[in-house]
């Protein structure tokens, strides 16, 4: 077995500092937005009593879902014992923690009373899936932290498999919990579906891997290290499979809902006559986020092309954000069906209007920036990245 050497990146070039500076500006903008929103109150945002969760929550849920999926690569190595993925495990754990930190930051800063975070940590309603998620998110930091330590500390390497299994199970429960935030809401037609939980799991696979591929390719390109095709192509194929799985779950979810008379109207809204939400669903989620990346990954003319894989990953991420947007905001825009068989003509109802406001968008982007800054700094200070992932190093037995 080849001996993988891990090394910190140099991180002292103009490019490095420019990147950090740009991300720093985005983070400052986000903090400014938070001050503006908290100081004035949420009336400065596009959110209202009809659309209670807006753009910040879209980004936050997206990052949290991607975080749990980013840990997949490490799990494939520790839990399923695929040796080729082992060198990637450290970066995988780091990506998971960073993405989660970014997502949680957005979520917490959008609270009506963020100064009461301590209350959220100390007063628990164990019947609330939200409260469970708080425990799961905090626990995820601890478990993955320990997992990384097992990987870094040579004497602990023999435990990394067991801790890896714990981390894998934990993130499955965590993502199930995140999906259940929506799945357990009986009030709204778009959400009341247990399939939300496994759908979120499969979404996490796709989004997390897309992020991981981009982070991997970028860090190797910008630190002038070798990244062989064997690793990249395996990850690319995996991404293709995950995208297909997401499309499958989305199809089942919507077809199932269409069949039930109870949910026909909300399905018609999302799929056919929901205006912006319908366009986002078909063009954004399905086409841009599903079919186009799959074509880029599997089409013989673009297969194996690294830039195309990078583009496919970017499309998956954009499509993922759009998917969560349609889910969260489209699901709220459609009115609650309080009187089946009747139309509400005054007082409530109608499609709620929502326009993302600038502070919300800046907060969301700032969260992504926080995740990326965390990764950038940590690969500089700790040996997360293998010195080389050239084909001979990563998989000596590969067939060229």
């Amino acid at each position: 077995m080849s001996n993988i050497r891990y090394e910190e990146i140099e991180g002292n070039g103009v490019g490095f500092y420019t990147l950090v500076a740009c991300l720093g500006v985005l983070i400052l903008a986000a903090l400014g937005s938070v001050y503006y929103m908290e100081h004035n109150g949420h009336y400065v945002t596009g959110m209202s009593n009809r659309i209670v969760w807006g753009t910040p929550h879209v980004f936050a849920i997206f990052l949290i879902v991607a975080a749990s999926g980013a840990l997949n690569v490490a799990s494939i190595s520790s839990v399923f014992h695929k040796k080729m993925y082992k060198p990637l495990s450290r970066l995988s754990g780091l990506a998971a923690l960073s993405l989660l930190a970014g997502g949680l930051m957005i979520l917490v800063l959008d609270l009506g009373r963020p100064d009461r975070l301590i209350v959220a940590m100390t007063e628990y309603n164990f019947k609330s899936i939200f409260a469970w998620n708080i425990i799961l998110y905090n626990g995820f930091f601890v478990v993955v932290g320990v997992y990384l330590w097992m990987m870094f500390e040579r004497r602990m390497n023999k435990f990394s498999s067991k801790v890896g299994l714990l981390a894998f199970t934990w993130r499955l429960i965590l993502t199930t919990g995140t999906g259940s935030i929506f799945g357990f809401l009986v009030a709204r037609q778009a959400y009341d579906a247990v399939i939300m939980a496994p759908m979120f799991i499969i979404m996490s696979f796709a989004f997390g891997l897309a992020f991981f591929i981009l982070i991997l390719m970028a860090s190797y390109k910008w630190s002038d290290r070798q990244l062989g095709d064997v690793v990249v192509n395996r990850l690319g194929n995996l991404l293709g499979v995950f995208i297909a799985a997401v499309i499958y779950f989305v199809a089942i979810y919507h077809l199932g809902n269409l069949y039930l008379a109870e949910n026909t109207r909300v399905e018609n809204f999302i799929l056919f006559d929901g205006g912006i939400y319908t366009q986002l669903f078909w063009y954004g989620q399905i086409l841009l986020g599903g079919l186009a990346p799959m074509a880029l990954i599997y089409n013989p003319s673009t297969k194996g092309n690294r830039s195309m894989l990078g583009l496919a990953s970017v499309l998956v991420i954009i499509g993922g954000i759009i998917q969560i947007y349609v889910l969260i905001i489209g699901g709220q825009a459609y009115p609650i069906e309080m009187f089946p068989g009747m139309d509400i003509i005054e007082g409530y109802g109608g499609i709620a209007s929502y326009v993302p406001s600038l502070p919300e968008i800046l907060l969301g982007i700032g969260g992504i920036a926080v995740s990326l800054v965390a990764i950038i700094f940590l690969v500089k200070f700790l040996p997360f990245l293998p010195e080389s992932l050239a084909d001979e190093v990563a998989d000596p037995h590969h067939k060229s």
Binding site: G41, Y43, V119, V186, I336, S353
Partner: protein, 240 residues
Amino acid sequence: MSKALNRRDFIKTSTAVGVTTVAAGVTLTTFAENKEAVTNQKRWGMLIDTNNLTEAEIDNMVSACMKEHGWGSELHSTGDQKPSWIKKIKVQDRTTKKITSLPLMCQHCEQPPCVDVCPTNASMKREDGIVLVDKHLCIGCRYCMMACPYDARSFVHEDLTNQKEHMPRGKGTVESCTLCVHKVDNGEQPACVDSVNSDAVIFGDLKNSNSKINKTLRQIQSTQIRADLNLNTGVRYSGI
């Protein structure tokens, strides 16, 4: 037996009278102050007869609630950001085209989804069935607003001043109809019920078989909004 009051009798009588007077005063003040915790011996509910409730009366209900609790005059909130503890809803049957007007507020469910989902126990149900928001614990996550099947809850989107003494409300927390709990604890009725001068809206103890609401519910056909969710609401409607 002399008619003159001897000393012993005088002391006995005056002490007895004095004690009685003071005791009466003390007991009366304790009842007015309500030093006992509420129990589930009572369950407060409301019955709204939409057939006999006019639109003007519903508008009055909304105004009475605004006046009692001090909402409705927010300066910066626009459109759907404005609080609505109680709203007038007009529904039209798709087949018969009949239009019904009704007031919609927090339904004070027995199995409130908002209480289930609140991460900090801020959304709570009192023993006597009234569902409230403990704003000391509310972190403003708005999950209860997502979970409520009746769109009953409002989020405060701006700084507030000049709150009513009995109704603290603040930026960043969630609020909703309290069934005028401060009045109910004082033996009175909710402000919206008081504003309707007929039996179209009845308020009372659902568990008390002698109460008007209990007797009426036994006699007439009534329904809960979204009864299929099995939440067992405290607010019932007849005529829809």
